[in-house]
Symmetry: C2
Subunit: 423 residues, 2 copies
C-alpha cells in the first residue's frame, strides 16, 4: 500500500479530501507522468532481479527467472489512468505484481518456471481512443499499424507511435504473443461496481466479462441563425443528438444494458448559431453478444428514422419536425463477451477461499468493464480477481479500496500465480 | 459591393464555392483580423473627411460635419462575424454606411447636421458571450465593468478589456450615449430569415424585434465507469442534458417560439466515463416578453423535476431513473421586445417605396435577431432596414444576398439618413 501511494506522485490528480492520499490521478497514457511511472516500474523490477522487455506497443514485461525455461506466468494490469481517475484502477494490479516479486525474493522462493509482471499500455483508451489497445495488438486482434496511428482525443496532433517514441518506450520486440508468450495471465483489479460492497464479500472470482462496442456518431444538420430561422426551416444537430442519446438509453435499458455518451463535440459552437454538426461517442455494453447485436441494429434503424423526422417513442411529441438531417456511424471498438479460463478461475477461487478463510466471502462475478485480461484470454489461460470499490465508484478521483482489501487482493494474486506455476 | 468583398480579405472564412467571393468569414471580435478591418474603417472614413472617435468599448464613430453642430444621424452596424459566418451579417450595414459617406462626398452634399457611421464592437457575442454588448454599454443597459471583464468563450484566458488594449482599440472616450449622443440610428441588415425571399419582396421595414434571453445551464451528476455502474446507480449528466434540450424545444414550440443549444461542454470527456458535469447554453426568443417569462418559468420548473427523476412528457418512458442530479441556471443576457421609433420606421418605409418604386415590394417585419439598434433605440430614434437572405440562411459561410439587393438596401439607408437629417 505504501509503494502504491508513493507512485501516485507520478500524475497526481484532483484533491477530494485533506488526507495525504486523498487525491485522484491524472496519468494519461504516454504522457510525461506515465513515463515517470514506467521508469519507476522498470527500475524497480530490475532491482528485484527481473529481465525487462519493452515491445512495439510500449508494453513492459518484467520476468523473474524460474528453475526451468518456459513461458512465464504473469500478473498484469496497467499504470495509465483516466483524466479524472483514481488511485486503484489498473495501478493496484501492477503494484500487487511488484509486491509479489518482492515477497518471492524476501522468502527466497524459487518458482518452477519464470513468473512476471506486465504493464499494458493505454488500457483506459482515454487518451488514444481504443481501450486495451496494446494487449489487443499483443493478442493479434488489433493491427499494430492501426494502433500506432491512433490520434490523441481532442487535439489529434500526436499519435500513439509518436508519443511512444517521444517518451522512449517504442521497444524493439514485436508486440505479439508469439514474441512474448505467456503461460497464464492473472489480473487483480478493483470491481469498479457496487456488488461486493453490497454483499459484504471480499473477493470476486471473475468468470466472464461483458461484450462492448464503441461507436462514434456524427449528426449533420445545417448551421443557421438561432433567432431568425423558423421552426420548419431548422436542421438542429444538437436537438436531434438529444433525441438520439435519450433513445440509445431507452433501447439499452430495454435489455437491462447500458449505453453512455462520454464525449461530444458541437460545431461551430456559438450561442446564437444552430449547430450544423455534432459528433458523440456511444459506449454500449451487454453480457451477451446477441443482445449487443440487437441493440446496435435497433439503434441504427431508429437513429435514421429520427433523423428523417419520424417520431420514435414520442420523443418528438410536442416538438416541431424541421428539416431532415443525416447520421453517420463509425465503429471504434467491438469486443465479444469473454469466458475466462476454467482452470485459472478455479485457481483464483481456491486462492480466495484460502486467503479469506471462508467460502461465503468469495463470489463468482461478471466484469462490467473491459480489461487487458479479455485479450490475453484469447492467447493464454487467464482469469481475474476483484476487490470491493467504495460506493461502487470508479473513473472518479474519489475511487477507493481499503488497504485491507488491497492486501487481500494482492495475496490472492500471489497465491494464484504460485498455484499456476506448480500446476 | 466591390469594397465590401475587398474588405473580406480581413478574416476570410471557409470556402463553399469556386468563385472569388464564395467564402464565408471568420472575423471574431477583437482578433487580429478584426483589428485589420477596424484599421481599414478608420483610415477610410478619415480619408472621406470624417472625424473618428473610439470609446472605451472599442466602438468607432466616424462623423462627417454638417452645416450646423448637433448630434449626428448615424448609420451603423458591426464588422465582427460568427466563427463560421458570412460576408453580409453586420458587414453590409457598415460598408453601406461608408458608401453613404462616399456618395455624399461625390455629390458634394452638405447635410444640415453631422452624419456618421458607427462600428459596434462584438455584436455577435460569439467570442465574448454577450451579444450587442458594446451598444448595450453605450445605451447604459450593461455596466462597463461587466463588459470589460467578459471572458473569451472556451479557453477563457483573455477578457474584452485585455483584447481591446492588445489591438489598440481601448479608447479614451467614455462608452456612453452621453459622450457620443446620436440624433438617430439607422441600421441596414440582411434579414437572416426566409420571409422576404418567400414573398418576393425587396425591403423589410423593421417595426419590432423579438425579446431574447441567454442562459447557461449546468448539470451536475456523478462521474463513474460506463461499464460497471448499474442503471440505478447512475447520475449521467449527459443523459439528463439530452432530456433538458429536448424538453426546452417542446416548451418553446408550444408558444411557436425557439430555444436553441449552440454550445455544450462535457466533463471529464472520456468515452468510458459517465459525464459528471455538462454545461450548455440556451438561447430562447419570443415576440412578447410575457411569453418568454412563461417559457423561462416552465423550463426552470420542469428541468428541476427532470433532474430529480420525475418523468415529464414521457421523456423518461422506457428509460431507467438512476440517481438524482442537480441543475443550476445563470442568465447571461435578457433583452425585452423592441418597438422601433415610429418616425424612423415611417422614414424607412417611405425611402424603401421610393427606391423600389412600389409599395408591394416592401413589408413591415419583426426582427428575429437582436441588433445594436435594439440598444440605440433606448436612447435615440432608431429603425432598421432588411434585405433578403438567400434560403433564409445566416450564421453560415454560405450566407448570401445578391449585389442588387445590397445596393437597394444601401440606397434605402442613404435616403433614410438624409430624410432624417432634413426632418
Ligand atoms: N477497467 C477499466 O476501467 N478499463 C477501461 C476499459 C473499459 O472501459 O471497460
Ligand atoms: N444579427 C445578428 O446575427 N446578431 C447577433 C445577435 C443575435 O443573436 O440575434
Amino acid at each position: 500500500n505504501d509503494t502504491l501511494h508513493d507512485t501516485c506522485k507520478f500524475g497526481t490528480g484532483q484533491r477530494w479530501g485533506s488526507g495525504q492520499t486523498e487525491t485522484g490521478m491524472c496519468r494519461l497514457s504516454l504522457t510525461d507522468s506515465d513515463k515517470e511511472a514506467r521508469d519507476w516500474f522498470v527500475q524497480k523490477t530490475k532491482s528485484l532481479g527481473c529481465e525487462v522487455t519493452v515491445d512495439a506497443m510500449g508494453n513492459i514485461f518484467a520476468v523473474r527467472p524460474g528453475r526451468r525455461e518456459a513461458p512465464p506466468t504473469f500478473a498484469g494490469s496497467h499504470l495509465d489512468t483516466q483524466p479524472r481517475g483514481g488511485r486503484y484502477d489498473g495501478i493496484l494490479g501492477v503494484l500487487s505484481g511488484v509486491e509479489m516479486l518482492q515477497v518471492l525474493n524476501d522468502h527466497a522462493i524459487q518458482t518452477e518456471f519464470p513468473v512476471g509482471v506486465v504493464n499494458w499500455t493505454n488500457e483506459e483508451g482515454a487518451r488514444f481512443p481504443i481501450i486495451m489497445v496494446a494487449s489487443g495488438v499483443w493478442s493479434g486482434r488489433i493491427p499494430l499499424e492501426r494502433a500506432h496511428q491512433l490520434q490523441e482525443v481532442g487535439s489529434g496532433k500526436v499519435t500513439m507511435k509518436s508519443e511512444l517514441e517521444r517518451i522512449g518506450y517504442l521497444g524493439d520486440t514485436p508486440a505479439s504473443h508469439e514474441s512474448t508468450p505467456m503461460a497464464a495471465h492473472f489480473e487483480l483489479h478493483i470491481e469498479q461496481g457496487p456488488i461486493l460492497e453490497a454483499t459484504g464479500q471480499k473477493v470476486g472470482v471473475v468468470t466472464t466479462a461483458q461484450a462492448y462496442r464503441w461507436f462514434k456518431v456524427e449528426v449533420q444538420g445545417q448551421e443557421a441563425h438561432t433567432g431568425t430561422t423558423p421552426l420548419n426551416n431548422r436542421a438542429d444537430a444538437m436537438l436531434l443528438t438529444s433525441y438520439l442519446i435519450a433513445h440509445s438509453h431507452r433501447l439499452a435499458t430495454t435489455h437491462n444494458c447500458v449505453a453512455t455518451t462520454g464525449t461530444l463535440e458541437i460545431s461551430p459552437g456559438s450561442v446564437n448559431t444552430i449547430p450544423g454538426c455534432v459528433s458523440f461517442t456511444l459506449d454500449v455494453r451487454a453480457p451477451a453478444d446477441e443482445t449487443l447485436d440487437k441493440i446496435e441494429s435497433d439503434m441504427k434503424r431508429d437513429f435514421a428514422a429520427l433523423a428523417a423526422g419520424e417520431d420514435i417513442g414520442g420523443l418528438r411529441t410536442g416538438g416541431t419536425r424541421g428539416k431532415p438531417l443525416t447520421v453517420a456511424w463509425q465503429t471504434d471498438a467491438n469486443t465479444a463477451a469473454t469466458r475466462f479460463h476454467p482452470e485459472c478461475v478455479d485457481i483464483v477461487r481456491a486462492s480466495a477461499v484460502s486467503v479469506t478463510g471462508s467460502d461465503s466471502l468469495v463470489r463468482d462475478m461478471t466484469s462490467g468493464a473491459g480489461h487487458d485480461s479479455v485479450y490475453t484470454n484469447l492467447q493464454c489461460p487467464t482469469s481475474m480477481i476483484f476487490v470491493p470499490s467504495k460506493d461502487g465508484i470508479s473513473h472518479n478521483p474519489v475511487e477507493y479500496t481499503s488497504p485491507e482489501d488491497c492486501a487481500i487482493g494482492a495475496e490472492v494474486l500471489l497465491q494464484s500465480v504460485i498455484r499456476y506455476d506448480r500446476l
